[in-house]
């Protein structure tokens, strides 16, 4: 693994204004999520039946209130915590698990490779939303179950990418040279292969961030993810659905947050892809 490679990638990324803007937006959201207890104007759990569904710009509630009279701005800020978590954790978990399985399958090859890849083909036969809904539905509602369901949806996809790049790298001359000089399998995997396959896998994984965010909030929207009264954008969208006749724009706010975050994730992923391609 050489750090100058990743330094150059980071350099190329820093010269990409769109990717940097997206990264800045995500950093801002992360900061808001972290600082929510200090910057939120009100308690996100405390409602008031007298102040239900206040419009945008109401006194004391800039972004209005929800169906139970809770301050929307505070709930959106706190909601960033769980929603970003749902976007990042399953992808990170799938990145690690998928890379390990894919490296193993690609490096070992032969019957073990066939067994692993054909088993994963079965997961590929499920449309991803259906697989997530099926696993989360069978496990029952809850944050950890929905994180697990999303991870299981992404692992086969990451494995496929990892396996295919590893298979390409495995027979290159420098790997052969390392093997002849007496390096063990683990050492070859760590020193020769990992550094050369991590880039493409990383690009693929960053592309999954927005999918994870949309799908994870979607599970909460269906009642399969985060449970009330926790603030989470998808769940807020669900509970506010009944309010679209009374105060439609308040009801649409949490979805706009998901939308902008997922655009930022996608733009950043595009930037990472072209930065790595410039290096390759």
């Amino acid at each position: 693994m050489n750090s100058s490679y990743w330094n150059k990638v980071a350099q190329a990324l820093r010269r990409d204004p769109v990717a940097m803007a997206a990264a800045a937006l995500l950093a801002l959201l992360l900061l808001a999520a972290w600082a929510a207890p200090w910057i939120a104007p009100a308690d996100p759990y405390h409602g008031s039946m007298l102040h239900r569904l206040q419009p945008l710009g109401a006194t004391g509630h800039w972004l209005g209130t929800d169906e139970l009279g809770r301050d929307m701005l505070s709930r959106l800020l706190y909601g960033a915590r769980l929603s970003l978590l749902i976007g990042v954790v399953p992808v990170a978990a799938a990145f690690v698990l998928g890379t390990v399985i894919g490296l193993f399958a690609g490096y070992v090859g032969g019957a073990a490779n066939t067994l692993i890849m054909r088993t994963l083909d079965v997961f590929y036969a499920f449309p991803s939303v259906l697989l997530a809904v099926a696993i989360a539905g069978a496990l029952g509602p809850g944050l950890s179950n929905s994180l697990l369901a999303l991870t299981l949806v992404f692992v086969p996809q990451v494995v496929r990418v990892a396996e295919s790049v590893t298979t390409q790298v495995r027979n290159l001359d420098y790997v052969e040279a390392a093997r002849m000089s007496g390096a063990g399998s683990l050492r070859i995997l760590r020193e020769q292969i990992l550094g050369n396959v991590l880039g493409p896998i990383f690009v693929y994984a960053t592309g999954l961030l927005s999918v994870s965010m949309i799908l994870g909030s979607g599970l909460s929207f269906l009642g399969l993810g985060v449970k009330p009264p926790e603030p989470e954008w998808g769940l807020m969208l669900n509970t506010l659905r009944s309010a679209i006749y009374l105060n439609p724009w308040i009801a649409a706010l949490p979805g706009a947050m998901i939308f902008f975050t997922s655009i930022a994730f996608n733009l950043l992923a595009d930037g990472v892809r072209s930065a790595l391609e410039l290096r390759a």
Binding site: A125, P127, V129, L130, A138, L222, L237, W249, A252, G255
Partner: protein
């Protein structure tokens, strides 16, 4: 060619079997007992035992799977635990509604995506190209369940033009395709169409601009062909991939329709899944997932079989 096609068909069999196994095992992920939905918590042990025997839950797991698979192959998906009705009848009715929505959405999305992508690819770098790129970014980034809500707010509440939910004036849905029923399908189909449109736009744009740079295009131009004739040759090269991407989208849309169906109270498979999950009705859950997945496998196979007919180069590769 025949060997190639045959190989694909044979390859689909273990996949389909794997899907049945995974669908069957899904139920055993569930916490608690499959009988929770019908038996009260304080039911006497002999009642539980009798119920278990009725549903075959007292046998070893592999035997249960074998019996379930044998029945499923004969088209018997068991009875819904909650309603007691045949799962097959419920799923068939719902699949029709979902398929209607998915076909409308995929049709509109692929058509729109082809247009946008072709224009963007042909006029690379122009304002139209940037617009198409932006639209496809929105298409893949938007949480479509939220888009559904926004469309409802705009077109059924602010402007009372279209119905906000249901599948038809008689709330029955089905394959009636008159204006009264299509009005109901318009908003959910438009909502779903955004996903395939974004993906197809990206694919077509990349393919068209890539194909335009190939040598055969240069040769065609050198022979004096007009822009339109050149475009026809490019389209012929792009078509097989668009067919593959667009065809699979129908399957993804059917599997993913649960979110949009929830927003628009559309009586399709998503509605069934919802019912099955929250009433813990495992036969209904298994049946619906199995039918949707086998449909997806069959669609994959169909696309694989059609592609080499459009592009004979695939066989040689």
């Amino acid at each position: 060619m025949l060997f190639f096609l045959l190989k694909r068909v044979v390859y689909a069999v273990p996949i389909a079997l794997g899907v049945t196994l995974l669908t069957f095992l899904l139920v055993y992920l569930a916490p608690g007992d499959a009988l929770n939905a019908i038996a009260p918590a304080d039911a006497p042990a002999e009642v539980i035992a009798a119920l278990k025997h009725t549903y075959g839950l007292d046998r070893p797991l592999p035997v249960q799977y074998g019996l379930w698979l044998a029945r499923a192959m004969h088209g018997d998906l068991g009875n819904s635990i909650a309603s007691g009705r045949a799962v097959r009848a419920e799923v068939l009715a719902a699949v029709g509604n979902t398929l209607k929505l998915a076909l409308l959405a995929a049709g509109a999305g692929v058509l729109g995506g082809c247009l946008l992508g072709a224009v963007a690819g042909l006029r690379s770098g122009s304002a139209l190209d940037r617009l198409a790129t932006l639209l496809s970014l929105v298409g893949v980034s938007i949480p479509h369940y939220w888009l559904g809500m926004v469309l409802t707010i705009v077109f059924s509440i602010a402007l009372p033009w279209l119905p906000a939910f249901g599948a038809g004036p008689d709330s029955a849905g089905g394959w009636v395709l008159d204006a009264a029923h299509l009005r109901y399908a318009l908003l959910p189909a438009a909502t779903m169409a955004v996903i395939p449109m974004g993906i197809v736009t990206r694919t077509v744009r990349a393919l068209v601009s890539d194909t335009l740079g190939r040598e055969f295009v240069l040769a065609l131009r050198a022979r004096g062909l007009g822009e339109f004739a050149v475009f026809c040759h490019v389209a012929r090269n792009v078509a097989p991939t668009v067919l593959a991407v667009g065809g699979l989208q129908v399957g993804y849309l059917m599997g993913g329709s649960i979110l949009v169906e929830t927003v628009f109270a559309w009586p399709g498979t998503g509605f069934l899944l919802n019912t099955a999950i929250f009433q813990r009705d495992m036969p209904l859950l298994q049946g619906t997932i199995l039918v949707l997945c086998l449909f997806f496998v069959a669609l994959n196979l169909l696309v694989d079989l059609l592609q080499p007919l459009l592009d004979p180069r695939m066989v040689r590769r």
